[in-house]
Symmetry: C2
Subunit: 477 residues, 2 copies
């Protein structure tokens, strides 16, 4: 080891953000092997933390890191970045369980998105826990336990991509891939104070992913900064003829052009009810005030139509879509499915074909009206969540509290929007974030606005890992 | 009347094609009042011909014609053209029945497409008979009777837009508006030797139209030439925020730029089975040979995937969509619905919501594969129908013969294609035509290719009315 090389502790202390690692690799201060070894040490030291359902064997991960040639770093946008994927995404050689071990299977091929990431230089370290069948927004619905929220240990981590968000928030990987149907790629980002990028439907291949609601499912990116999220999305984006819902949409730039806040018009909800008790409303109001100070015009919009649309996901026809992929398994092994998931899926069996077609026409009308509403602004800005709960609270009332988490996320895919969730931690005592939402295809606009808000909020784009157990007071308060 | 003015007989003898009428109006040889009066006389002289379900009162139609100012002809692309609409399209003041009198209602407003046509100078003369609820491709499913096929009186006129096609084919209007879900805007065009333009889904507003399968329904244009069809479609095209399935798509030019056949690549079915006994196959082969002579490259394509897709419309999940708009009425007044329609709709009640979602994902995959298949050619060319039947034959076996009519039309909307049906009469003894099909949004390409084929076939673009009872031999043969 050369004398300029970092110690294992030093490696992790600075965070696993892309720019930092690339600079360190270029400067010879670290190698991908150093980083992966340090990451694996940290993961092993944490023991059974409910973040992982499977891990790439240490030797294999280290070999992948060792195989990277520094001479290729300019060609490999994700060179030497450790990452994880949610365990509803196929990785050849590791079981896919969707947090239901009895459902598990061993895929022969990785999902194309995993191959793309690896081809871009990223190093897979493992697969993450989730709310079973990606059905939930809270992170408590898994036989593998509840991943501890590194920001406030008593609070839920959010779901369904619970382990994937915690893996980033706890500094175990540079980024992770989740999925998002109702907010699973954004709620856990907000509740662990990281960035969650939920692309337009069809921008990223969903081949090799266990469907939740197939027509709405999106792969999503968790990262410690918007810039890192964009770099990953730029690798992932592009059409896939094997994915029926794939679309040819503009792929955002991996290196986002900066954007000035001054002069932007952002739609905001004209009214928000249901605020939590952990300072969420204050954080939102501070964020809005700072944006106005920065020259943003906030345009109050009546979002009733959007909120109504959202209710159809768990309380309408789309429950039948959620059921459609699981019907056979559910009949064969009902006991393997968590009772709360069974309860939710049971409603899907009551939905008739005619009802689905009526709902589809209705939703297409809502989409057109949402597009018209948003045509007048650069993007929509909402809180990502308006409240959060302790694990205990959630387990005591698992369905209605879950629905409340999705107030500003559940409509997004139904209305064919893209979204970027970004933390505004300096203004909140509990985890809290806002989401920039825009029409499908405007992913780059949403990312650039989110990056500008992130910059304004002074969230470190270096991806510094948070101090474990940071804000325990908030749980008590 | 000036000495240069045409006699009523002369007016109709030359056909009601757009270019002829515009030239005659400009030259002062006729006025819109002359034409409308002659048309109404001819309609009245025919008596109960099962073509009409309702007519605009004579005085009203003549007043509309008289109100047209010749000075505005350059501004009004449909100046003085008499037209009709299928009776599943709302016209203020006339009942909408969808060929089910008990279902009928009196709309307060006309469908926006009717308003557009009138604003462009067209003159509505009435509403046309159809297969009940636009469910059928044959023209025999109506309590108002079977419109007589003016080409071969014993043969079915085709449906569901039976009356609308016959109104054009019998020289009663310049053009008419039908609807097309499974081929209702193309099969009757082929069987009456006229042009049928089936635009991309969402190009023309479907507001004020009784839905068949709402996500697939298209308004369509019947005309005596492709040029006339294009002129009408150019007036109709454009987004409508009130129509959930409306899309922003390129509106074709009303004045089509000509296109040379030489050098075109047209996909054709690599195999066609089920040919009828009335010379259809010979007509198809002659058409193909002439195209090759003209320098077209015919590319045989395996259309199995497309044909399979088509079967899902009447034998799969989409029957539930057909049911979805009628469920309530059907429960209230089952006896008002024709037995054959009841039989078809009954299957829709068996379809579960989960099945619909699985079918939607499957069809999205088929759409992607169809797009990939067609990406290599300028358009797909198929027979519009491969066989036809007498009214007697059809009534004896009303469901399976109907399905056979739709072999090359039923997949079109399910796979998100547009199509233009054009007659190739010189090469056939029975009514026969071909269809140019292309991906959604390529309406102008399809129209231009169809116009070139029409020109090659020597079909008069003047819209000459056929001689009544032209080809009775073919029925016998």
């Amino acid at each position: 080891m050369s004398p300029t090389r970092s110690s294992p502790t030093g490696i992790l202390a600075g965070g696993l953000g892309r720019e930092r690692l690339r600079a360190a690799y270029r400067g010879g201060e670290m190698t991908p092997v150093d980083v992966v070894a340090a990451v694996l040490d940290r993961i092993e030291a944490r023991g059974e933390d409910a973040v992982w359902t499977a891990r790439v064997p240490r030797a294999e991960a280290l070999a992948a890191a060792a195989a990277l040639d520094l001479g290729q770093i300019d060609r490999l946008p994700l060179f030497g970045l450790p990452f994880a994927v949610k365990d509803n995404i196929d990785v050849a050689g590791l079981p896919t369980t969707a947090a239901c071990p009895e459902f598990g299977y061993l895929p022969r091929e990785s999902a194309p998105l995993v191959d793309r990431l690896v081809a871009a230089g990223a190093i897979l370290v493992g697969k993450n826990n989730l709310d079973q069948f990606a059905t939930g927004l809270n992170g408590t619905r898994s036989p593998y336990g509840v991943p501890v929220n590194p920001q406030v240990p008593g609070l839920i981590p959010g779901g369904s991509s619970s382990g994937s968000a915690v893996a980033v928030a706890a500094g175990l990987v540079s980024f992770s891939i989740g999925t998002d149907t109702a907010g699973s790629g954004r709620v856990p980002a907000a509740l662990t104070d990281i960035v969650g990028v939920k692309p337009s439907i069809g921008l990223v291949s969903a081949t090799g992913i266990v469907p939740a609601c197939r027509s709405l499912d999106c792969s999503s990116v968790f990262a410690s900064s918007v810039a890192d999220g964009a770099a990953v999305l730029a690798v992932l984006g592009g059409p896939d003829v094997a994915d029926p819902w794939s679309r040819r949409l503009p792929v955002p730039a991996g290196d986002l052009p900066p954007l000035a806040l001054a002069g932007l018009r952002l739609g905001v909800p004209s009214a928000i009810s249901g605020w939590g008790t952990r300072g969420e409303q204050e954080a939102w109001l501070t964020c809005c005030a700072r944006l106005v100070d920065a020259g943003v015009e906030l345009v109050p919009l009546d979002l009733d139509e959007l909120l109504e649309a959202g209710r159809e996901l768990y309380q309408g026809a789309w429950v039948a879509e959620r059921l459609s992929g699981l019907e056979e398994f559910l009949e064969r092994e009902p006991a393997a499915v968590l009772p709360v998931i069974r309860t939710i899926l049971a409603d899907g069996a009551e939905v008739t074909g005619a009802e689905v077609f009526r709902a589809l026409s209705g939703m297409h009308g809502r989409r057109a009206r949402a597009r018209a509403l948003l045509a007048d602004v650069d993007a929509l800005l909402t809180p990502t969540v308006v409240e959060t709960f302790t694990v205990e609270e959630m387990l005591a009332d698992p369905i209605s509290l879950n629905t409340r988490l999705g107030r500003f996320t559940t409509f997004t895919n139904l209305l064919d929007l893209c979204a970027v969730a970004v933390p505004v931690r300096p203004w909140s005592v509990a985890p809290f974030g806002v989401s920039v939402q825009a029409a499908a295809g405007r992913d780059e606009v949403a990312l650039r606005i989110a990056a500008a808000i992130e910059g304004m909020a002074g969230v470190s784009p270096s991806g510094a890992a948070p101090v474990d157990g940071g804000l325990e007071l908030a749980v008590v308060g």
